[in-house]
């Protein structure tokens, strides 16, 4: 109902806009709020360096759009939906923020998108993984940009099943993201003729995985899959190595592994692990050139989220430039109408459920012999075409798609 109303008002608004055909930017400023975990578990995935990526985008745009200046504010959400909600409410109610960018923990993104829908502002989710963000939690007020659990499962799980990993033991982080990933993986494994024989949900965060790894070994499954993220994943991989999990014939599959995690583990410990990524810094001249600029400012290579923050901000500003408006629905519509071709992807597009679909990549961590430098970590095994990677609209539960 609220969605229908919003669509209607936005339709009217955009008609008026075209009729008016003049710059309509609230407060003569385009204000972007960067909200991310700046100090906790997910800091290195987006964090302060994501803010730098955002600043790079604004600087590359010249600091102004459609005659208005671009301002950036930022805040630490501390991975708490409550903190995030309070911040975003203040931003949109009192500080005239037009776009909320960053958005890492899935629980934070879901909480924030509700507020954005209520206040009719825009959010671009770059960091979160849960595919539910553009499925049952979709709103006309946010876009999910970089990746989600659906292609993670599709890419990695189907590759591993095809290599003969028929029986699966899934070790899941016990919160929204882990559950979403577990569900998506189970579906992919079963669709490919495999079987999930046991799932085990561990508290978030868990410092010691020895007990769970032991249970995984005892299960006798071909594949031990990690449906968790960040330090949980690196801890689990280290412990699996210590307890000789792979030596005893089991395959370890990490379903969400970021460049920062692999860098922390090192190629020695992480070699051979297959993973799905939305972007890698060393893919072509364009990605390398941008990464070099990023590294000059931050000292590290960008994760796919950093690249996504940069790319999505440029897309957002381009849409404002084209329409002369910072109205959420006008901008979102324009963004949906514009294919994305930049350092992040080619032929990416934003669907009506808010999902940006683009090619994903199945990568394998290089061996110490193959790796020529500290950040020379992945070799790309296969490109997963956009349409194959993401959840098809025919399976969508999003009211924007189903019309319910």
């Amino acid at each position: 109902m609220t969605i229908m109303k919003k669509l209607l008002t936005s339709a009217i608004a955009s008609t008026l806009m075209v009729a008016g055909a003049q710059a309509d930017i609230s407060g003569d400023t385009v204000k972007i709020g960067y909200l991310a975990d700046m100090s906790g578990t997910y800091r290195d995935l987006a964090g302060p360096n994501g803010l730098i990526a955002l600043e790079m985008a604004v600087a590359d745009f010249g600091g102004t759009v459609a005659g208005s200046k671009i301002e950036i504010v930022s805040s630490d959400d501390r991975n708490s939906p409550d903190v995030a909600s309070a911040t975003v409410r203040r931003w949109v109610e009192n500080e005239d923020v037009d776009l909320v960018a960053g958005l890492v923990a899935s629980s934070v993104s879901i909480a924030v998108s509700d507020i954005l829908e209520e206040k009719d502002k825009l959010g671009i989710v770059s960091g979160s993984a849960a595919s539910s963000i553009t499925n049952e939690h979709c709103t006309p007020n946010h876009i999910h940009y970089v990746y989600d659990t659906y292609p993670l499962a599709n890419g990695t799980a189907s590759a591993v099943v095809k290599e003969g990993g028929k029986t699966w033991f899934i070790l899941t982080a016990d919160y929204a993201f882990g559950h979403a990933l577990e569900g998506d993986v189970t579906r992919v494994v079963e669709a490919n003729g495999g079987e999930v024989i046991q799932t085990l949900r561990h508290p978030f965060p868990t410092p010691d995985f020895s007990s769970f790894i032991l249970q995984a070994q005892g299960s006798g499954a071909d594949v031990v899959a990690l449906a968790n993220a960040g330090a949980d994943t690196t801890n689990a991989i280290n412990t699996a190595g210590e307890f000789g999990l792979t030596q005893s014939g089991q395959t370890l599959a990490a379903l969400l592994l970021f460049l920062a995690d692999v860098h922390a583990l090192g190629v020695e410990a992480a070699q051979g692990i297959q993973l799905t990524t939305g972007w890698y810094w060393d893919m072509n001249d364009e990605t390398r050139a941008w990464s070099d600029r990023f590294m000059e400012k931050t000292g590290v290579r960008p994760t796919m989220i950093h690249a996504g923050v940069y790319s999505s901000t440029i897309q957002y500003l381009n849409a404002i430039k084209a329409t002369g408006s910072d109205d959420a629905q006008t901008v979102r519509k324009q963004m949906m109408a514009t294919p994305i071709n930049d350092m992040f992807t080619s032929n990416g597009r934003i669907r009506e459920d808010g999902r940006m679909v683009h090619d994903m990549y199945l990568a394998e961590v290089k061996t110490p012999e193959e790796s020529k430098g500290e950040w020379d970590l992945y070799k790309i095994l296969r490109t997963i075409p956009a349409d194959e990677a993401y959840r098809p609209l025919s399976e969508s539960k999003c009211p924007l798609v189903t019309g319910k």
Binding site: D44, L200, H202, S210, S211, A231, T234, E242, F243, D261
Partner: protein, 295 residues
């Protein structure tokens, strides 16, 4: 194979052993806390940060100076212990005699600052540290594969725990320490340098935490945040054991490791909460803790 509540006996024995190993970590950490609280009446919220510093120092010493694991096992705790004594001398001493809450807040602030600074420098993804070659591999116990390093951890932790208990309860130095907590003025009257004793005690308690940190470095992700999570658990352990009880901290530490290990087998979702549940029950039935003296 015989089963207990649907879990094969072999699996259960493995989980029990792992519980004891994790418990050894808890014991080491809660022992340091108990020493500091028992003898100095300081609630040391910087204990987790000191554990983290021990692990970080191990990695950083190796990366910058090539200091190996065996040297780090001694050097890192000593360095962190010195930092601890500096904190005691420059900060904690100034609020001596005040309510416990002051030392709690002060050490909590110090911990946040240390953690924040290191997060800014090193990030949160963790530093790489490879296990010393001697410890690579493990032995098959029949019911589980026990990595050599875990066996080493339990031996070292128990040795240090026992040594500490022995020193405090059975030696002359320990007697001075205990006398100092009873009546520091009287002890000073006997010609003992009590302020130095206090600094050394705090430094020693902190060293125990850093030692646990060095033991943790090869098996856990070494990150600036690694201490903050374990700190709360360890405080719960100390409360269950009885604040200030040395033997209580050691025994409860191992016991709680086992309880947590069993929970990880039967109902993993609750494994991070179970220690707090035990704490609630113990506080309701025996407010001074399992081994604490009635106030």
């Amino acid at each position: 194979m015989s089963m207990i509540l649907g879990v094969p006996l072999a699996v259960l024995s493995g989980q029990l052993l792992l519980g004891v190993i994790n418990g050894a970590f808890y014991a080491l950490l809660s022992l340091g806390l108990a020493v500091i609280f028992g003898l100095l009446k300081i609630i040391n919220f910087a204990h987790g940060a000191m554990y983290m510093l021990g692990a970080m120092a191990t990695v950083i010493l190796f990366d910058t100076l090539g200091v190996n694991y065996w040297v780090a096992l001694f050097v890192a705790p000593v360095l962190v212990g010195c930092l601890g004594m500096a904190i005691e001398y420059f900060l904690l001493r100034r609020i001596g005699g005040q309510d416990h809450i002051y030392s709690l807040l002060l050490t909590f602030g110090v911990a946040l600052m240390i953690q924040g600074i290191l997060t800014n420098i090193y990030g949160v993804s963790g530093l790489r540290y490879s296990m010393p070659d001697v410890f690579k591999g493990g032995m098959n116990l029949g019911f589980m594969f026990l990595p050599y390093y875990r066996a080493w951890v339990i031996v070292m932790a128990l040795l240090v725990c026992f040594g500490t208990w022995f020193m405090i309860e059975k030696t002359k130095l320990g007697a001075y320490l205990r006398a100092g907590t009873e009546d520091s003025q009287l002890l000073q009257g006997f010609g003992i340098n009590v302020p130095l004793l206090v600094s050394l005690t705090y430094g020693f308690g902190v060293m125990l935490a850093a030692f646990a940190g060095v033991l943790a470095a090869p098996i856990y992700s070494v990150t600036p945040g690694m201490g903050s999570h374990i700190l709360i658990v360890v405080f719960a352990v100390v409360v269950i054991g009885g604040m200030g009880s040395i033997a209580g901290a050691i025994i409860t530490g191992i016991l709680m490791g086992v309880v947590e290990g069993l929970t990880k087998t039967f109902y993993p979702q609750a494994s991070s909460a179970v220690i707090f549940l035990v704490m609630v029950v113990v506080l309701l039935i025996r407010p001074s803790g399992l081994f604490g003296k009635e106030a």
